[in-house]
Each structure stands twice: as C-alpha cells, then as structure tokens.
Amino acid sequence: MSNTKEYIRNREGSNISKIVIDRDLCIGAASCIAVSGETYELDNENKAVVTHADAADDVTLMMSAESCPTKAIFLFDKEGKQVFPK
C-alpha cells in the first residue's frame, strides 16, 4: 500500500485497533460516511479521512468498511492482523 493513512483506535472493549485508508483506492463515494458519519468525513481532496477513530462500535465500523465499493478501508486487530478485507 502506497498512499495510505493510518488511524489508531483506543475504544474500550474494541477488538479493532487500527483503521487504514488507502487514498489511491478511495474515490470519495462516501458510503462509509452514510454508515458512520461520526467516524469519517471527506477531506478537500475528496478522500475519506477518519475524524473520530473511537466513535463507532466494532459492528458499525465493520459495516462501514464493508460498505466501501472500492475496498479502500482496512481494519486491523490488536495483534496487527488484518480483519477486513478478509
């Protein structure tokens, strides 16, 4: 992954500890924002960025990643293992 941004997550009880967005893959479809507007927004380059990594629960966060039509959102657990996309 070349042009990526990483966001560390410290939500209590969560198994997801890192959100990564591949900016080359992101097309600004904003489906992630429709699922979790508290977690994401679009920046001035029309790319999704994480504003509050801890805002959503794991189920919602997983749904937001699954909703991306270009699979630009990657989720990692505490051991550093990629949990989405599988």
């Binding site: 600004g28 479809a29 904003a30 039509p69």
Partner: protein
C-alpha cells in the same frame, strides 16, 4: 421444493447487504439469493480508472469471495432469473423451471442500462457499462477503437469519457441537453463540467441527437438529426436505467417505473419487500415517492428491508423501522469531483445560496425551499461540505440568519450542526 425463510431476488448491493443483515441477526433462518450474475461485485468500480485501465487486478472487483456465501450459510442460486411470483402460495419460479418457497421475499432486482432506441443499436461497438460483462466488452473495444462517441449527459458518460480518453481514444460527446446535466445542475455548474471535459480533449455536441447508426456488422459512424455525420468505431451509451417488472406486475405487485413501497420498503403484497434501484419508495426526507439509482441508497435500503423482514418474523431485539436517509450521489472525472444530495429539482420559488464559484474552481449550490429549509445541494470540487449539508437537510435546519455563513467559503459548515 426448496424452501427458504428469507428469499432474495437479486445479488447486487441491496440484495447482498440484506442477506448479510439477515444472517447477522438470525443465525439459523435459511437465506438464499437468486442472481443472474456470478456473485457480488462493485458496479461503482466498473467506471473507475484503477479497474477500467487495469491498474489493479480484475479480481479486485469482487466484493465477496466465493467462500463468503457458504461460510454465512447463504445459498447463492446463480445464473438464473426469477420468472414468476405466486404470492398466494408464496413461491418463486426460476428460469430453469425450479420453484422455491419463501416466508419473506425481497425483490432487489435492480435495473439494466436503457437500450439505445435506434435501429442498428445491436451492432458491434455499441457498448454500455451497467454490468460486468458489458464492462469487459467495453474494455476490449477500447483497446482497438480509435474514435468513440458518448451518448448522454449524466455520470456514466462523464466518467466513461475520461476512461476512453485515458485509453487513447478521440471522444465526441453527443447530448440532447443545452448543457451538461441539465436540468439537475444549473448552467454555471454544467459549464464547469463541460470546461473540464473539453480541457480533457472531449468534443461536445450540445442539443444534438443521433438519428441513424451507420455500419454493417460493426458501427462505423452515426448521422445526427441535423445531418452531421460522425465517424466512430465505438459508441458508449449512458441514457439511464430500465427495470424489468413484467413478472412482478403479473403477480399483483403495484408498480410504476419501479416497485412501489411504503417507507418500510413493504410492497402491497404481504411479506414481499423491495429495495435498491428497483424500489420506488416513500421517501420520508423528500416527502414523496421516488426511485433512486445509486449505490449507497441501495445498500442502506437492503439493510432496512432486511431489518423489517426480521422484525416481522418475530426475531427478538429487532424492531420495524422506516427507511430515512438523505440520499446522495458522487462521481469523479477530469480532475473534478461532483456530488448531489437530497432533492436537486429546482422550483422557481426556491432560493439558491451559492458557495464558491466556477472562477475559484469549487462551487456549491444550497437549495432552500419555501419553508426556509435546505432540501438539497450540488457540489463541484467541494464534497467535504456534503456531510454537514446532509445533516442540515436531515435536521430541518432554518436558513434565515445563516445565509452569509452558508455562502462564506471560509466558514466551516460543521459549526452550524446541532451540538
């Protein structure tokens, strides 16, 4: 006869999201998806450069792996169409003659690219980009073609003009409208898009219409209504969507252009739901029945329909809820990002607040109705404003006293949101 608790017709984003939601909330209820396609893929990606120009692997188009269906105990019945619905017996007949029984049925059949309504439109080189096979065919054609025409002035043409230019083709855009995306955009926004197209090397013919398709087996050109002849070996058609509803109508489901539903995505028949591009639903945000063809809408409707199928099956902890969302659509091309949200159909009594301008290369139009509320907006190169604007639409925000903030490009719209 195979029998399913939840039967879904259509394996696109609405159908697949519904199946996923059903399985998450009902671990044991049987779920099946009937689809005429191989499995769930990203329709959005078909017109994006990473995929179309093969910068990423073809397989990245799949949004679910083959194993996903089995792992989630979802029967994928592929390569067939549903042909008959009998709501009294609660059965669906398939094109291979098989009959399936259902307890809850979701119609998520989507739509197809509207065919070019001219004699000769079956010639080779006439292409669409609605489904995977069409995209493959177009990708092959682009490799050998020299001069393409694009017909239509919506997002398909816009994105595909860029793909074809990046593929090295000469491209002529033929549109009936006086400017791009008329009447959903205003002339200033439309001209911004046209400037980007022209800068990208696309020749635009406005208020023009093809009257004849030329060529034998393969398209060699077109004649326009004014007599102009244009040579081309590829025609990309992006003139909208059609839904095939005959078998659904015959079953007694109420239809218009799509399948009519209430805000719960229920049709007039018991235990029959509709979601996605095919649903003409009661939109609680707009206060009227509309049909929208876009990815996010289909996805969120798939989830709501599934939720309501679960609720009516008595799954504990699941309550029936209406579909309510400020719908939006985004697209990219020629260095522009374009978005529309809410209701962008202008009436003369509405007020438009402009934010930015074509001169500074970003331009937002905020549409305010006679109740002093924002009902929609269009965005060019300023999609970061869409999140806050959508929240203002949703929260019935009153515009009076805030007009200067809305039009001030340095003002962060998030400050207007309810805390």
């Amino acid at each position: 006869m195979d029998s399913y608790k939840y039967l879904i017709i259509g394996g696109g984003v609405a159908g697949t999201t519904a199946a996923e939601t059903l399985r998450q909330n009902d671990k044991d209820g049987s779920v099946a998806i009937v689809s005429d396609e191989p499995r769930f893929y990203s329709r959005i990606m078909l017109s994006k450069p990473n995929f179309f120009l093969e910068k990423i692997s073809f397989d990245s188009v799949w949004l679910k792996q083959k194993e996903w269906y089995g792992e989630n105990k979802i029967d994928f019945i592929g390569g067939v169409l549903a042909t008959k619905l009998n709501s009294a017996n609660k059965t669906i007949e398939l094109s291979d003659g098989k009959v399936l029984e259902y307890e809850k049925l979701l119609l998520a059949t989507g739509g197809e690219a509207r065919p070019w309504p001219l004699p000769g439109s079956d010639k080779k080189g006439v292409c669409y980009v609605r489904d995977l096979n069409q995209a493959k065919e177009l990708m092959e054609n682009v490799k050998t073609a020299k001069h393409a025409i694009a017909v239509g002035s919506g997002f398909v043409s816009f994105e595909m003009c860029e793909m074809m230019r990046l593929g090295g083709l000469e491209v002529t855009l033929i549109m009936r409208e006086p400017y791009y995306w008329y009447p959903l955009l205003d002339e200033e926004s439309g001209k911004m898009i046209e400037a980007a197209l022209e800068k990208g090397g696309v020749k635009i013919l406005r208020e023009a219409e093809v009257s004849e398709i030329l060529g034998d087996e393969k398209i060699s050109g077109v004649t326009l209504k004014d007599g102009t002849k244009i040579d081309c070996d590829l025609a990309l058609i992006g003139i909208g969507l059609v839904c095939h509803l005959d078998w659904i109508k015959q079953a007694g489901v109420e239809i218009n252009k799509g399948i009519l539903t209430n805000e719960y995505l229920e049709t007039n028949l018991p235990d029959v739901y509709a979601a996605g591009d095919v649903a003409e639903f009661n939109d609680l945000v707009l206060g009227e029945r509309v049909q929208l063809g876009n990815w996010v809408n289909a996805q969120m409707q798939g989830r709501t329909a599934a939720n309501n199928m679960l609720a009516s099956s008595g799954i504990s902890g699941v309550e029936k809820k209406p579909f309510k969302m400020v719908s939006f659509y985004t697209c990219i091309g020629f260095g522009l990002n374009i978005a529309m949200s809410g209701d962008v159909r202008i009436k003369s009594e509405y007020k438009i607040i402009k934010r930015g301008s074509p001169e500074i290369n970003f331009f937002v139009r905020v549409i305010v109705d006679t109740n002093d509320e924002i009902i929609g907006a269009t965005f060019i190169n300023r999609t970061q404003d869409m999140g806050p604007i959508n929240k203002l639409i949703e929260s019935d925000f009153k515009v009076t006293n805030h007009e200067s903030e809305l039009s001030n490009t340095n003002f962060n719209l998030k400050q207007l949101l309810p805390k």
